[in-house]
């Protein structure tokens, strides 16, 4: 018998709590596949955030720590400084990383912490009920922006990857999406690179993954993919923001 498809060793058999059409499942799988392929499952410590992926510690078959809201990069710093030879990654949403945890991510990057961050951006707070996020697009409806985000009073969405790419301590920053199979393949490549950068001790690495939230966007899973493509990508352009080559220049 030939095995053509199986669960990565870095995922547990647990059923996830994610809503139908949510792309967290895809992103979890990509991270797990990369950890398996790099053969570092037994040397990896992950940090789960607060938000929709708060229970990620039940899904990754790895040593995990659950961090307070936004503090995952600080927790990761503590772990990495104790175990500099281990692989340490944070998995964070946009509320966690771009609002309450802005200071922690900026300074982990500035210190050039040798950690990897998977930043899942779905432009909304999912777990708490569809509130406006720092990444919510202008005009996008949210429970705390019922008429759509008003730039006049609620300001503009934050492009974290672009901000982080300006920091000298970062080695690799890329933005990817998972709205179709081609993009999923590219996303995996970027995630793998972000872990390799850590193994090579080149500096801080982050992959921003554009993600859907059909439940809080009020769309079907398919319509959500289309919405991401048509609305998020023009504001959050895909591609590599920074590579180690630029660091060396």
């Amino acid at each position: 018998m030939i095995t053509v498809f199986e669960r990565p060793k870095s995922l547990t058999p647990a059923k996830t709590h994610y809503c139908p059409g949510c792309t967290h499942g895809i992103i979890h799988r990509l991270v797990a596949e990369v950890i398996d392929e790099l053969d570092v499952r037994e040397d990896t410590i992950g940090i789960a955030p607060v938000g929709c992926s708060v229970l990620a510690y039940n899904y990754f078959n790895l040593d995990m720590q659950e961090a307070a809201h936004g503090r995952a990069p600080a927790v990761a710093t503590g772990i990495k400084r104790v175990h500099p030879d281990k692989v340490v990654f944070t998995y964070q949403g946009d509320g966690d990383l771009a609002a309450i945890g802005t200071a922690e991510i900026i300074h982990a990057a500035a210190r050039g912490e040798k950690i990897t961050t998977i930043f899942v951006n779905n432009a909304i707070y999912g777990m708490t009920g569809g509130q406006m996020a720092p990444t919510t697009l202008v005009g996008q409806e949210a429970t705390t922006a019922p008429s759509g985000r008003n730039a006049e009073t609620q300001g503009y969405p934050v492009r974290m990857s672009e901000i982080l790419a300006t920091i000298q301590g970062t080695a690799y920053i890329a933005r990817v999406s998972v709205h179709n199979p081609q993009e999923v393949a590219k996303a995996k490549k970027a995630i793998k690179k972000a872990f390799q950068i850590q193994l090579e001790r080149k500096g801080f690495a982050l992959v921003e993954v554009l993600s859907t939230c059909p439940t809080n966007w009020g769309l079907t899973p398919l319509a959500a993919m289309k919405w991401l493509q048509e609305n998020m990508i023009p504001y959050y352009p895909l591609g590599v923001q920074k590579t180690p080559e630029e660091v060396e220049v």
């Binding site: 037994e42 708060v54 995990m64 720590q65 659950e66 600080a74 710093t77 772990i79 200071a103």
Partner: protein, 354 residues
Amino acid sequence: MAKVLMKGNEALGEAAVRAGCRFFFGYPITPQSELPHYLAKRLPEVGGVFLQAESEVAAINMVYGASGAGARVMTSSSSPGISLKMEGISYMAGAELPCVIVNMQRGGPGLGGIQPGQADYFQAVKGGGHGDYRLLVLAPASIQEMVDLMGKAFELADKYRNPVMILGDGILGQMMEPVEFPEMLDPASLPDKPYATTGAREREPRIVNSLFLDPVELEEHNLKLKEKYDHMVAEETRAESYFTEDSEIVLVAYGSSARVAKAAVDQARAQGIKAGLFRPITLFPFPKHQIQEACQNAKQVLTVEMSLGQMVEDVRYNLEFRIPVHFYGRVGGMVPTTRAVFDEIKRLVDGEVD
């Protein structure tokens, strides 16, 4: 080992290194900054890590990560900074992670001042962060005692898998006294921590966590924590009694205030007044049996604090309201004088009570 003359904050730093601590994460704040200054130089000499964090909040969360990874780790701050750390302290208590936190208290509330205070007693002893949890709180009154309690603090933190606070004040941090250090403890000699996230090599994954979404499980977790705190109450109380056997009036004070109170007791004794001092060394757990024993012949009690009356509530409660408990305090960075405390003793024993 010979005694050396050292500033309190620096002595605490050396004591932490001697106790096997190799990781410090903190943020600058007066009047504790000499502690991070010392460790910034000292920790790299012993293969340790000193990291100045971007905030108090980040610092305590780095402590969380390092402790969850199995390390002996500490942080230090002063009053306003400790308020910021309360989030992480609550998470550490919830996730049952050991660490040592030093608070060199200053005057408050708000930004307050930079002179010594003892107004964070409630925060340290009653909670401070959210949820039902307790810190073990140790209150040294000399540099030597700070050094001795630092080793004890790490031991207790590991024993109970709980954060331990050393509650000092600006005076203890800033003053110099001769001090003798214990031998260096090799952190490699400490037992492995069965909860530490080190990579799941040939074992099941470990999860460091304080989230329990099922209320049945969360209640069970809270009850398990309570059992730990009950053990602390039964086993870990420490106190010093000074001339309390025959005392008609017992002073109760901790930290720097206890030194002032002790001098006032000496003055009172010199004038034939039967005064004594009871000094709690653990503030949580409060030394209930010891204070009851120390006050068994007392007609009245005088609590002295650099606050407007915080520990005095625990004094009354632990004496079960059977003896009149009076209070004398100075705040804002003002320190009680021996003269003022002596006058208060005199006024009370002479019966001029309000």
